[in-house]
Amino acid sequence: MPSATAVTRGAIKIDDVVKIYDPEGAAVMAVDHCSLDIAAGEICMIVGPSGCGKTTLLNAIAGFHEITSGRILLDGEVLCSTEKPKAEPGSDRIVVFQNGALFPWKTNLENVAFGPIMQGKLSRVEAHEKALSMMADAGLSGVEHNYPGEVSSGMRRRVEIVRALMNDPKVLLLDEPYRALDSLTKSVMHEALLEIYYRNKVTIFFITHDLEEAIFLGHKVAIMTTRPCKPKKVLEVDIPHPRDYSVLTSKRFRELIEETNEAVHEEALKAFAAGEKEG
């Protein structure tokens, strides 16, 4: 992974994390002694059946939910632990949500410029200038002054990713961002994401249940067990970055799919048998 070595910040260490939901005494274990190391600047794909507890892990890193025990570190600093179960949400870890969370009442430009203005890092004018140039780089020229509701869902995802990057985060947390997109749009979005990534190297924690997507994008693919969630198999993808769509038809890509398909399928069957619902 030569491209990942240049980045010095954004290493995540998930150390023996347990999350037990306890609605009215009926303890449900969502995450079971999960440990995972993600190097700085790495794209780590988390693959698992729907409802397996992947999002629980993401929410713990983002600081939206508490963990029960264990700890999560970012660049050696404890985000949350058994003693301090909930991390502070911060602009070093920005989430791109499953169904998108662009503010519908703000134009795309205002959305993108939101973070730096909130943090007082840039003035309104400076933030708008920077947002314009970042949007132009991401192929979003022309929709700056539209509302999110006026552009396609693929476009909205890109705006949201640019909005996240404007905060100069150490980690980008993507929660099945392309789930609702059709496969053609998805393939465009994959290349767009990689392009954005090559320009702004950050650690990416990417949740998906699409194995091809995972191997195509990731440096590392962690296949999770169904609830309770922990890594079943961690795969280092040895296809060099930068990648483009020709990778999909390469021999190595097919081999990696074959190597992992069974593990994923096994968990999917388990999830199906357990009657796990979508989401």
């Binding site: 870890r93 509302y147 999110p148 905060n167």
Partner: protein
């Protein structure tokens, strides 16, 4: 409701539907001329024979025809008292409505964002809410020093509950992800209130206001009928369109009743349109859906 424009097909359909309505009304009203009651003498006899002694059935012939109404309108159109009725009702509606907005929006927001405030305020609110504004008329006449204030108060109540309920509902239904995203990007509580809760609630405020405005017109007219008083045609005190109608009824001027009714319809329509236009302007992102 998408950004609707008056014009083209829509305008013509509106004009056509109103025209057809008026034509039917005219024909119906004139039935007292071309449809003699005597024609149905046999029917009447039959009804009487089975114990039917009174005329229980409504008859559209009893309602003044649109042409008669128009003539009556022509008589009051340059009457100061008639326009004063408009003025008084509009003033009361505006006063009550603005008071309801000014008090209702912050109150609703407070209840929506603060658990303690909700715990204290909402039960009282929910007990008072089912009481129809008109049930407040006697109490408010006793409570408020002037009749004007008591009408304004009742009008205020009409819009207040709807606005508050809509604000609470709107603020509560804002997606958690917006809060999480804003928080991650370094927003303070005040930023979240100003940039997420306020704009996120705005569509509900617009809807609540539109409904509230409708109720305000209903209430003001009824309140004027009950307590308005004072103004006659030609006079310039008290009054209002509600009293105008009541006065016409008491005075036996049936055409004028309908003049008053239609006046209220027009006034209500104008206020709704104004509010809708204003609503679209403050929520531009909703125009696109």
């Amino acid at each position: 409701m998408a950004g609707r424009k008056w014009g083209g097909t829509l305008l013509w359909r509106g004009v056509a539907s109103i025209t057809v309505f008026l034509v039917f009304w005219e024909i119906g009203s004139l039935s007292k001329v071309w449809l003699k009651w005597e024609t149905f003498a046999w029917l009447k006899e039959m009804l009487v024979s089975i114990g039917w002694t009174k005329n229980y059935l409504p008859w559209i012939g009893a309602v003044p025809a649109p042409t008669e109404v128009l003539l009556a309108w022509g008589k009051v159109i340059d009457d100061v008292g008639y326009w004063h009725s408009w003025y008084m009702s509009c003033l009361r509606v505006l006063g009550g409505f603005i008071a309801a907005m000014v008090i209702g929006i912050p109150f609703g927001l407070l209840l929506a964002v603060n658990r303690t405030a909700f715990g204290i305020g909402f039960p009282v609110f929910e007990v008072l809410r089912p009481i129809p504004p008109l049930a407040w008329v006697p109490a408010s006449i006793i409570f408020w020093p002037t009749q004007e204030l008591s009408i304004a108060f009742v009008t205020f109540l009409g819009a207040f509950y709807t606005i508050v309920i809509n604000v609470i509902g709107g603020a509560r239904s804002i997606d958690t992800r917006y809060f999480q995203a804003a928080q991650s990007m370094g927003s303070s509580s005040w930023d979240i209130f100003r940039r997420i809760i306020l704009p996120g609630t705005l569509p509900s405020i617009v809807v609540g206001s539109a409904v509230g405005m409708g109720i305000t017109w209903e209430v003001v007219v009824a309140a004027e009928m009950i307590s308005g008083g004072g103004s006659q045609i030609g006079g310039t005190s008290g009054g209002g369109l509600g009293f105008f109608i009541w006065n016409s009824y008491v005075g036996g001027s049936y055409e004028q009743i309908v003049v008053g009714m239609i006046s209220i319809g027009i006034a209500g329509f104008i206020s709704s349109e104004l509010l809708r236009t204003l609503g679209h302007r403050v929520t531009p992102w909703l125009r696109l859906r």
